[in-house]
Amino acid sequence: MTDRPISHSEPSNGPTDWKSDAMQARIGRRYRRERTFQLLGFSAVVVSILFLVFLLGNIVKNGAYGFVQTSVSIDVTFSADLLGDPTALSPQAFTEKVRKTNMLRLIQASMQDLFPEVKGRRDTRTLLRMVSTGARAQLRNMILSDPTLIGTTKRVELLTSDDIDQVIKGNIDVALPEANRKVKDNELSWLKTLQNDDRISLNFHSQFLTGGDSREPELAGVWGAIVGSAFTLMVTLLTAFPIGLCAAVYLEEFAPKNRFTDIIEININNLAAVPSIVFGLLGLAVFLSVMGMPRSAPIVGGLTLALLTLPTVIIASRASIAAVPPSIRDAARGLGASQMQVVFHHVIPLAMPGIMTGTIIGMARALGESAPLLMIGMVAFIVDIPGSINDAATVLPVQIYLWADSPERAFVEKTSAAIMVLLFFLIAMNGIAIWLRQKFEQKW
C-alpha cells in the first residue's frame, strides 16, 4: 500500500469532525434536499390525483343536470273540433286527422288562457317557443294512445325549450343586459308567472337514456349511441377474441423459435403503439373503398376496432398462457395427450380468466375510442336507433364529440351526462375484469 495517493487538497487526513459547523450545515443541506425531493414526488402524485378529481368533479357537476329537464305543466283542452271525434270517425280516419293537426294550436290555446295579455304575432310566437318542439309529438302520442282524452281538459307536463331550461338551471345569467342573452325580458317575466303558479318543475328525464339523437338538446338521448356502441363492440369481440386467442396460442405453444416468429412478435408490439387514427385510415382504405362495405356502419367500425384491440388481446392472452406452469403440460403429455389436446383441454381453460380479463380491458379501450371511427364516417347525425350491424350508427364517444361541437349551451350538460354514461360502462367493464382476475387468479 505504498502507492496510496496522497490527497493534497484535504486539509487534514484525520477523522471527519461530524460536529463541526461546516459538516452540520452540509448534513442539514443534504437532508433539506432530501425532504424537498420527497415533497416533489409526493406533490407529483397529488397533482395527478387532484387533476383526476377536478376532471371527474367538473363532469359530474355539469352532467348531473343533463339527466333532469325542466317541464311546464299547462292545462290542455283536447278539443274535438280540432282533432276530430273518435266516436264519429273510423280509427284510421281519426289517426289520420290527429296526425295532420298542428298540435301547436292546442298549446297556443292553453298558453293564451294563461297569458291573456299577450297579443301580436311576434309575442305569441315567443311565448310558444318557450315550450319544446318535442311537445307536439308528446301531445300527439298521448291522444293516439288514449282517444278518450278528446273533449276533456287535462293538466299536461310539457318539456320547455332548452333556453328556458338553462335559465331554470341557472346557466344563463339573467343579470346580463337583455341584448347579450338569449332569453329576453318578456320571456323571463312569463317564466316568473309560471313559477309563481308552481307550474315549472325539474324532473328526471328518461328520454335522455331512451331516446335517439336530436338537434334539440331537450330531446336528445344517448340510447341510439349506446345501441351503436353495443353492435360495434359485438363485432369487435367476435373478431378480436377468437383471432387474438388463436394467435396467442400459436405464438406461445406451437410456433418454432425462428426469425419469422420473432418478426411476428415485434410486429404485434409495434401494432399496439400505432396511433389509433392510422387504423382509421386503414379501415377507410380497405373496408370502405376496396371492399365496398357500408359507410357509418357498426360492422366496419367493429372490424376497425378489432384490428386496434387485437394486439392488446394477443399480449394479454400470451402472458396468461405463459403463466400456466409447465408441470400441467408435462402431466397431460405424460397421460398421452397430443400437443393440441394439452393446449385445448388443459392450458386454455386454466389461462381463461387472464385471457378474459385482457379481452375485457381491450374492449373497454375500444369502447372509449373515437378517432378511427371518425375516419370511417360514424360521425353522421343519426336520429334512428340502429337495428343491425349494417345500419348507419354512431357510438357513445363519437356522440360526445358531436355534442361537444354543438353551439347550444344546453348541450354542455348533455355532453357531460353522456360522458357519465360512458364512464359508467367503462367502470363496469373494468370492474368485471378486476373481479374476474381476483376471483380466478391462481398462484402456482
Binding site: 443534504r30 432530501e34 424537498t36 425531493f37 420527497q38 416533489l40 414526488g41 409526493f42 407529483a44 402524485v45 397533482v47 395527478s48 390525483i49 383526476l52 376532471l55 367538473n58 383471432i243 388463436c246 394467435a247 400459436y250 406451437f254 410456433a255 418478426i263 411476428i264 415485434i266 410486429n267 404485434i268 408490439n269 409495434n270 401494432l271 403503439a273 400505432v274 396511433p275 387514427i277 392510422v278 385510415l281 386503414l282 382504405a285 380497405v286 365496398g292 384490428l307 387485437l310 400437443q339 373497454a364 372509449g368 375510442e369 373515437s370 378517432a371 371518425l374 375516419m375 364516417g377 364517444p397 360526445i400 364529440y401 361537444a404 361541437d405 357531460s416 360522458i419 360512458l422 364512464l423
Partner: protein, 447 residues
C-alpha cells in the same frame, strides 16, 4: 351441413368398429370434427370468393351488356350508372325512368341471383364431396385426429400471421394512397413546404386557391403540443414513479397506482371535451387577467391536458424501469451514507436511464398520434409559431378535417390525409422501435 356431417361421420366411425371404440385410432368425435372441417372450409372459401369478387363480376357483366350508347362514356360515369342501376335494383321503377337502366337493373338482379345460386349449389356439391370422402375413409386406422390437429394448427398459425397482414395492410394502403398523392403534388413540396391550405377548386370555374400542401406547419404544431405535453407529463410522471417506488408505503401505493391508471383509462374524447370547455376558457381568462392575449384554442390548453393524459404512461414505464434496477446498487449507495434523494438521482436514475428514456419516447409517440384532444381543443388554422398561447393545428387534426364529411376519393385534398397518415405512422414507428430496443437492451444488462 358441417354439423350434420360431423354427426354422421362420428356415427359411422363408431359403426365401423362395431361399437368397440377403443379399436379406433382416433376418438369418434375427431372423425366427426375432421369431416366437419373438410365440409366447412371449402364451402366457406367459395362463399368468401363470391362475397369478395361476386359483385364486381356481376357489375362488369351488366356494364358489358349495356347498349353502346350508354356504355361509351368515360370512367366516372360508369360508376354513376352503376349507382343508378343499384338504386333501381333496390327501389324498382320509383328511382328512374330510363329504360336502359331498368333493363340493366333487371339483368343485374337476375345475374346476382344466379351467381348466388351457383355459389350455393357449388358449395353444396363440394361439401357433399368432402362428406363423401371422409365418410368412405372412415375406418379403424384412419388418423382423423392427426388430420384435424393439422388443420387446427394451420388455423392458429393463420391467425397469428394476421398481425403481419394488418401491418402490411396499413403500410400498403398508406403508401398506395400516398403515391397517388405524390403524383399530383411533388414530394418535396409536401415535406418542406411552409404553407398548408388543402382547399382546391372542385370545379374548374370555381374561385379557390390552387391548394398548398406544405406539411411543415402541421408538424411544427404537433411537436409544439407534444413538447408542452411532455413538459407536463415528464416531470410529474417521473416524480410520481420515484415517489411510488421509493417513498410511498404499501397503502399509498395501492391507492395511488390504480388512480393514475384511471387517468390512462379515461377516453380521450373526455379529455378533449374538458380541454375545450374548461381548461381553454380558464387559460384565456387567466391570460386576460394578467394582460396576456391567449387564443381560445391555444396550444397550451391542448398540451396541458394531453400531458395529464400521458402521465400514467411515463409513470408506469418509469416505475418498471426503476424497480428493475438491482437492489444491490441501492444498498451499496445507502451503505456509503447517501440519502435517499442522492441514491435516486445519482444511482437509480442513471441505472434506469435507458428505461426512462424509453418511457419518454413511447409517451412522445403517444402524444404525436393523439387525436381527439387536439381535434376538440386545438385550432384548425395552420400556424408556424413557437408561442404556446397561439392556436396551432396538428397532423391528426388535419387528417380528421380532411376525411370527415363527404369527400371525393381521389382529389389531392383527400389523398393528402393518407400522406400525413404515412408520415405519422413512420414517425411513431421509429419512436416505438427505438423505445422498445432501449428498454430491451437495458433489461438484458441487468437480468
Amino acid at each position: 351441413m358441417a354439423m350434420i356431417s360431423f354427426a354422421l361421420v362420428r356415427q359411422k366411425s363408431v359403426v365401423v368398429v362395431g361399437g368397440a371404440t377403443q379399436q379406433l385410432h382416433s376418438l369418434p368425435r375427431y372423425h366427426g370434427y375432421f369431416a366437419a372441417v373438410k365440409v366447412f372450409v371449402p364451402c366457406m372459401f367459395l362463399f368468401l370468393l363470391w362475397m369478395v369478387s361476386g359483385e364486381t363480376v356481376v357489375e362488369n357483366l351488366v356494364i358489358a351488356g349495356l347498349p353502346d350508347s350508354v356504355r361509351n362514356v368515360n370512367g366516372d360515369q360508369i360508376s354513376l350508372i352503376l349507382n343508378k342501376i343499384q338504386l333501381a335494383v333496390q327501389y324498382g321503377e320509383a328511382s328512374t325512368t330510363d329504360a336502359n337502366i331498368l333493363a340493366a337493373a333487371e339483368q343485374y338482379s337476375s345475374l346476382y341471383e344466379k351467381g348466388l345460386w351457383a355459389t350455393f349449389s357449388l358449395s353444396l356439391a363440394v361439401g357433399l364431396l368432402g362428406y363423401y370422402l371422409s365418410n368412405s375413409r372412415t375406418h379403424a386406422d384412419y388418423r382423423a385426429r392427426n388430420g384435424f390437429e393439422k388443420a387446427m394448427s394451420f388455423a392458429l398459425a393463420a391467425s397469428s400471421f394476421l398481425a403481419i397482414i394488418v401491418t402490411l395492410g396499413i403500410v400498403a394502403s398508406l403508401i398506395f394512397e400516398s403515391l397517388r398523392f405524390f403524383q399530383q403534388v411533388p414530394i418535396q413540396d409536401f415535406l418542406f413546404g411552409l404553407h398548408w391550405s388543402p382547399q382546391t377548386a372542385l370545379r374548374a370555374d370555381q374561385v379557390a386557391s390552387a391548394g398548398a400542401f406544405g406539411s411543415i406547419p402541421l408538424f411544427a404544431g404537433t411537436f409544439l403540443i407534444s413538447l408542452l405535453a411532455m413538459l407536463v407529463a415528464g416531470p410529474i410522471g417521473l416524480f410520481a414513479a420515484i415517489y411510488l417506488t421509493q417513498y410511498a408505503n404499501h397503502t399509498v401505493r395501492a391507492v395511488a397506482k390504480p388512480v393514475l391508471e384511471i387517468l390512462a383509462g379515461v377516453p380521450t374524447v373526455v379529455y378533449g371535451f374538458f380541454a375545450a370547455l374548461t381548461v381553454a376558457p380558464m387559460l384565456r381568462d387567466a391570460g386576460g387577467a394578467i394582460g396576456v392575449d391567449v387564443a381560445s384554442e391555444s396550444a397550451l390548453a391542448a398540451g396541458l391536458v394531453m400531458g395529464v393524459m400521458i402521465i400514467p404512461f411515463v409513470s408506469s414505464l418509469s416505475d418498471d424501469a426503476i424497480t428493475a434496477v438491482p437492489s444491490s446498487l441501492k444498498d451499496g449507495s445507502f451503505a456509503l451514507g447517501a440519502t435517499k434523494a442522492e441514491t435516486i438521482t445519482q444511482v437509480l436514475l442513471p441505472a434506469a436511464l435507458p428505461g426512462v428514456v424509453g418511457a419518454f419516447l413511447l409517451a412522445i409517440s403517444r402524444a404525436i398520434g393523439e387525436t381527439m384532444i387536439v381535434v376538440m381543443a386545438a385550432g384548425m388554422r395552420p400556424n408556424l409559431t413557437a408561442n404556446p398561447l397561439e392556436a396551432v393545428t396538428t397532423v391528426t387534426v388535419q387528417i380528421v378535417a380532411l376525411l370527415t364529411g363527404d369527400q371525393e376519393f381521389d382529389s389531392p385534398k383527400t389523398l393528402s390525409a393518407f400522406a400525413l397518415g404515412l408520415a405519422l405512422f413512420v414517425i411513431t414507428l421509429l419512436l416505438n422501435v427505438a423505445a422498445l430496443r432501449m428498454v430491451r437492451k437495458y433489461r438484458e444488462a441487468y437480468d
